[in-house]
Amino acid sequence: MCGVIGLLIKDRDLEAHLGRMLVSMIAALAERGPDSSGIAVYSEASEDDPSALRALPTLGISLGSDEAVEWDDVAEWASANFDRSVTQVLDSGARIDLPETMADALVASIDVTWPAVRVLGTGRVMTVVKDTGWPVDICRRHRIASWAGHMAIAHTRMATESAVTVLHSHPFVPGPDLCVVHNGSFSNHASVRRHLQAEGVRFETDNDSEVAARLLARRLAAGDELDEASRWVMKEMDGFFTLVVGTSTGMSVVRDAFACKPAVVAETGSYVAVASEYRALAELPDIGEARVFEPQPAEVYTWSR
């Protein structure tokens, strides 16, 4: 009921084209996920970027909403109340960068002051956009084609709930710079959720994909490398799934042992791209020379920058 996308750029010269490449991939998977889309773009702050507060560790907080929000007002409020913050207003969202130490206070404040606003994710290098509607339109509204960066994880969703919401869309962001997208159907997610809840993990939705995301985050927080943590999730979750995970250092793809949900990978010297259908890779640069393969069942593939 979905399309998943991962795109890791190896050649720095290609980073400026990330957005364009990503949009072609999302467009190809719009039919299998027509109801909403979520995009996480990873981009190091550049030397000229005014949002770089280089002296302190900063965090970017991506915001979205299911309702119409005056994002300019949010930006104004943020700079008035958090003077070290810099806000970038997007079409249906915003990203606020500020010193890491102030992040919790900002999130708590948003909860109270702007109840319609949702925190889509936090990250030093990651910006998240989630919106409802036809994925191609979402890309156009947010001018995704002009975005640059070294990695992107995206998702197109065929929803079941009558209310398609931003909150239920992928990627799920269970920790800073960590995002997970999922295609398939878990069969034991309710039990795994209860188990995690008993350990103190808090959930934002009743979505099965969020369970896998939080399980992964828990393993990473416990010190596992991305590969190990991904293997743990593959073992614990039952059902049919293809997962694509993004972190600040790389990307992983995980498929269950039955491998009934599609996945294709294309790798060249300049990039690694993974998608649910080959169609999504068809317009990538030099695709004719790429090594194209399908991830094996019950295997984890990781790539780092």
Partner: protein, 463 residues
């Protein structure tokens, strides 16, 4: 204790054991079942549908004419039964005279004579039949003026040439008797002809896949539906059939994948052979299934575009009318059609109409007329679910066709009688407000008030 025993006193004398309370946890049938499994190491397999009582349409009644609601006269004041299915994507829709179709049942499970009779009956009353898990027979195509062609996980007998001759296509994700289980045909019914059609060695026990081989999930179902449209030049409606489990999600996903018609089969739905545990313990009843499915279509604003067919233990015009009132556009019948044909009848006709008693044949199967669920044995005493030519000859196709047509006409009249009494000039105008529930479960499942109250238990608030 004896009569001389001084302690007996006024205690009544008994010369037989005191009746013990019945063992509800381990009644005789359960004990026998355990003994059988201990003996054979295999689970019970049988035909037909759920035998145990579950909340069903009997627990609903119609609020017919009153001072404020006027009835139609019978006969002269027309009550329309015409039903149109499948026009969503511009295909040639199926135009039926009645809101009742014949459900998918395979040649293999059924004899060729049975399939032929069902086809003739359907044609004479102006409705459709459906192929089953074994492909299309030439007799069936000839007998049935409107034929729905099933695409099942096994793809037994699936032929693009037959696909091109079909009036509609039904992709079977599951059926009510065994959602998640594949088809089953035991060796005694895998005759030469059946084996040839299914590309199997004759006489083996057929194992079946439970998933489709070439797609999994609604996102890939969408692509499969397109393939079938391409192969039929976009001419025919595409149905998607599910067994009733997660009905709301399934209906919405089927629609998102491109279905023109959604078919939901409740747990009471029948089969010719499957594990008893599936029949009795998988799927939800037809009663909540129809309401959930109808509501799902309304939720996504597709109730006018996509039609809903409901099946699973439909027995009478009352069942049909209630299903329509709860939002179905049509119902599909399987077991009841076979019963009209002669299933569980104590005798069978000869060519000249003379009746021959078959009770001994039922006994030989370990059952009696009225209790038989032994379709899986292939020894059907009345020639319906058998491949044995001798037994099959007990089903005289023209007589069978007449009986099924009679039954379909009779229940259609029951539907219109109820609909007219509710003041409807069209059976499709029946609505939930025409109903009241007799039990709390039925009220909750059908989302209809408990009679005498305005209470609908378990009403779900918007998420």
């Amino acid at each position: 204790m004896t009569a001389d025993d001084p302690q007996v006193g006024a205690f009544p004398m008994l010369d037989h054991p005191v009746p013990q309370p019945a063992n509800a946890s381990f009644p005789p049938s359960t004990i026998e079942r355990i003994h059988d499994m201990a003996e054979s190491g295999i689970y019970p397999i049988r035909g037909l549908g759920a035998r145990r009582l579950v909340p069903n349409f009997d627990d609903l009644v119609f609020l017919t004419a009153s001072v404020s609601r006027y009835p139609l006269e019978g006969y002269r004041e027309r009550c329309e039964t015409r039903t149109v299915l499948g026009g969503r994507h511009g295909a040639q829709p199926l135009e039926l005279e009645i809101p009742i179709t014949i459900a998918g049942m395979s040649f293999g499970a059924l004899s060729a004579a049975a399939k032929f009779a069902l086809g003739r009956a359907a044609t004479s009353v102006g409705t459709s039949t459906t192929t089953g898990d074994g492909g299309m027979t030439a007799e069936e195509r000839k007998a049935s003026s409107l034929l729905v062609y099933q695409v099942l996980p096994s793809r037994y007998g699936f032929d693009p040439a037959d696909l091109r001759q079909a009036d509609a296509v039904e992709i079977v994700v599951g059926q009510g008797a065994k959602p998640g289980g594949g088809g089953m045909l035991l060796g005694q019914k895998v005759s030469d002809r059946v084996a040839h059609m299914r590309t199997l060695p004759p006489g083996i026990d057929q194992r079946s896949a439970s998933r489709h081989p070439d797609w999994v999930g609604p996102d890939d179902l969408r692509i499969k539906i397109e393939e079938l449209r391409e192969a039929t030049e976009w001419r025919v409606p595409i149905y998607v059939k599910v067994g009733a489990t997660r009905v709301e999600y399934d209906v919405k996903l089927a629609v998102a994948a491109g279905a023109d018609v959604v078919v939901v089969d409740g747990m009471q739905g029948g089969t010719a052979a499957t594990q008893d545990v599936f029949i009795e313990h998988a799927g939800i009843p037809t009663l909540p299934a129809v309401r959930l499915a109808s509501q799902a279509l309304a939720d996504i604003g597709k109730a006018d575009e996509v039609q809903l067919i409901i099946s699973g233990g439909i027995r009478s015009g009352a069942d049909v009318a209630k299903a329509l009132a709860l939002g179905a556009d049509a119902v599909s019948i399987g077991v009841a059609a076979l019963m009209a044909l002669g299933c569980n009848r104590s005798s069978y006709p000869t060519d000249d109409g003379h009746l021959v008693d078959a009770t001994d044949d039922y006994r030989a199967l370990g059952t009696l007329p009225g209790q038989c669920v032994h379709c899986h044995t292939g020894q059907c005493p009345v020639g319906i679910t058998t491949q044995d030519p001798t037994l099959e000859s007990r089903l005289v196709p023209d007589m069978g066709a007449r009986r099924v047509a009679n039954y379909l006409r009779a229940i259609t009249m029951e539907v219109t009688a109820l609909a007219r009494a509710c003041g409807k000039s069209d059976v499709h105008h029946l609505e939930p407000e025409d109903l009241a529930a007799l039990t709390i479960e039925a009220a909750a499942m059908a989302q209809v008030p408990l009679a005498g109250t305005d209470w609908i238990p378990g009403f779900r608030s918007d998420p």
